[in-house]
Symmetry: C2
Subunit: 419 residues, 2 copies
């Protein structure tokens, strides 16, 4: 027998039941919150054509290297989706008749061809909400409020929204002497502030900016906290000031207090045009989500202006914060036939019809082995079905934690288990 | 601007919200039934190494052509998963410490590089349950019962399980003069009975079998219905007879009556070793699911015998049978601010906290436009928030179907909406 490669594909992994049960539960809660905000589900294929993934105005040069792309059997250039936003933009572009606003959520896998590291995989989940067709900053505030409610609903308590405005940064960078055609490059360097030292950043900036501009930018990067304080130390144009204040008022209406304005937040993707956000869960964990406004992404595809904004939670990052206990099983009771398999099957079917998750030994092993299995699987109850019990028209219900047993009718056992 | 290819990748498609809502609902119900039978969720990556997908003893020659495979950026030969069974076998092989039985379900996408046709896509969903580690036919009966309950739970009423035994067929084919090394080839030809005419099948068989063998096989193919009648017309070895009768008794215990034994059911995949099943939903729709026992699949990977059986529902086929009405929205109420956006946001947040799915206009359009939108989206209720209502400490709740309106406190509106 040739030795097979039984590993998962590099950078990918399996989610075993006890992890998957927890993940599904968390996803279910997030989904419920997303729906409570009027977002509807959309699903797109895992593959996209390369023109969409690598087109100008989508992700930008840095990200392009990370697209997991290949030539398929038909000679087509395709790639696994890099995020959930660009496929959404394609759907909006293909379906221009869609009533606006188009509010969609999507909780699904994305792929990035990064160097696999401990805890970093090439295949992971994003949980996105996006509002397409509203240019009011109220929509930006709403996606933040929705992400805030979703995180609270799953038990994440400590996090803060870092917020900046791409528009404001464009103005400030221009004022600091950055030429227009170097703004994106500059932002991309500033985006590395959490990875590189200030000296390294300064060095990269000095390669194309004056000493004075570089210093001014580094000063700007220090500004974070309350907008009204920040805005006193910088020069902001009236329109930008107005839209930021409007946005802050909307955040207040939504009850959002856990945020700061942070001029050091750049966000590396090309497609952002307005407010950008990042959700920080402390120094150790870092970012658990991000988003922003991308008013020109759809325009780049169909030449028609369609404003849009959205936010994305990284499921793996969020689960890191949660550190929730894995859930070993959703099975409530394990039915153990003592020779009487036919009768045990009938009882198991009764339990299932009553809405109780129930497993059953079908391999004919001993009672001892079966109780050992139920205990290992952390199934809370067992029901024993033997000749004696059948004669008495009853079953034995065993509490696996205490070991206590009761002889009950099936109906009584069901009502006890349902409590 | 260069014209972009905005199509989905060939053979793939988007699920728009009104379709996705329905799909999620159906998946949710299936999942609940799978869990009620003690199956636990498992998730594997979308990509698998080519050795696993194309190894001997997995799918067989016919299927191999359909694996959506490619060389990735790192020079790795990989492929999108062809089904959910072989990845499960890999997980079992990689995790030999898993307590047995390992009962897992998986509802996820698979890919086949078929010629795209109307209604046939290269990317589609399967819903699988599998029991690994039990060789009793009780486990075969259980996966059938579980599929039966799942189909009933989502409203599929008319279907029948066609059942055959690969072991029985091996014996009958041998008796009919088929050489051992031609059995798989013969079964693969017989598997095309629903696609080719009898004459075409006969011609293919005559290429390597005698006229007598060919005729005997075609006679066998006519046998379907009640096992006790069939078994009188064929020669069955004692062990095989015993295991089939045992299996039929288990089906009875599970309350399964909608089945026939059908000797014309072959199942094309190489990995089946025992009972094979197909779920038929009438002539027009055809098969909506299939499965069987594959006792040697894991053995082929690790050289250790691990019995296994499973069944798979084709979600798209099942939805075809259901013909269920699409669900346009899960939003219960649309909040319309009449200038009072801040107050409307607060009310929307109250509704959401009360568990009511609620959308809200943030674009500042007119009341008329907003009601038109709510009506187009089929949102059943609207809440109007204007200066007058706020002064009265109330909101106007509008039934979108009848147009009737009531002035109510937010609390009262919530309790009305929750009924």
């Amino acid at each position: 027998m040739a030795k097979l490669n039984l590993e998962t594909v590099r950078g990918m992994r399996d989610f075993m039941p006890e992890e998957k049960i927890l993940r599904d539960e968390v996803i279910g809660k997030i989904k419920k919150v997303f729906e409570s905000y009027g977002f509807a589900p959309l699903e797109t294929p895992v593959l996209e054509n390369i023109e969409l993934l690598k087109g100008k105005g989508q992700y930008g040069d840095e990200a392009l290297k990370l697209v997991y792309d290949f030539t398929d059997k038909g000679g087509r250039q395709v790639g696994l989706r890099y995020d959930l936003t660009v496929p959404l933009a394609r759907v909006v572009a293909m379906n221009q008749q869609l009533p606006k606003p188009f509010k969609r959520y999507c909780i699904d896998k994305v792929w990035r061809y990064e160097r696999p590291q401990a805890g970093r995989y090439r295949e992971f989940y994003q949980c996105d909400v996006d509002t397409v067709g509203v240019d009011s900053p109220a929509a930006d505030a709403e996606v933040i409020a929705c992400a805030n409610s979703a995180l609270k609903a799953i038990g994440v308590e400590k996090f803060v929204f870092r917020i900046n405005s791409r528009k404001l940064m464009n103005e400030l960078l221009t004022d600091a002497g950055v030429p227009k055609n170097q703004i994106v490059r500059t932002l991309r360097i500033l985006d590395k502030l959490d990875k590189l030292s200030k000296d390294e950043i300064a060095k990269e900036l000095r390669a194309f900016l004056s000493e004075e501009s570089t210093n001014e930018l580094l000063e700007l990067m220090k500004l974070s906290g309350d907008w009204y304080k920040i805005s006193k130390t910088i020069k902001v144009c009236g329109d930008t000031q107005k839209i930021i204040e409007e946005f802050l008022n909307y955040l207040k209406s939504f009850g959002i207090k856990n945020f700061i304005i942070d001029l050091s937040l750049a966000r590396g993707l090309d497609y952002y045009t307005g407010f950008v956000f990042e959700i920080e869960a402390g120094k150790e964990i870092g970012s658990i989500g991000s988003g922003g406004r991308y008013d020109t992404l759809v325009e780049g595809l169909i030449g028609q202006k369609v404003p849009a904004t959205g936010i994305s939670l990284g499921l793996e990052r969020v689960l890191c914060v949660l550190k929730a206990k894995k859930i070993k099983t959703k099975t409530k009771v394990y039915v153990v036939p003592i020779k009487e398999t036919a009768k045990a099957i009938e009882i198991a079917e009764e339990l299932r019809k009553a809405g109780i998750n129930c497993d059953l030994d079908l391999s004919g092993r001993s009672v001892g082995k079966n109780l050992e299995y139920a205990s290992k699987m952390e199934i809370p109850f067992a029901i024993l079905v033997g000749e004696q019990e059948i004669k008495a028209g009853k079953v034995k219900l065993r509490d696996m934690a205490t070991g206590s047993e009761e002889l009950l009718t099936v109906e009584k056992a069901i009502s006890n288990l349902k409590q």
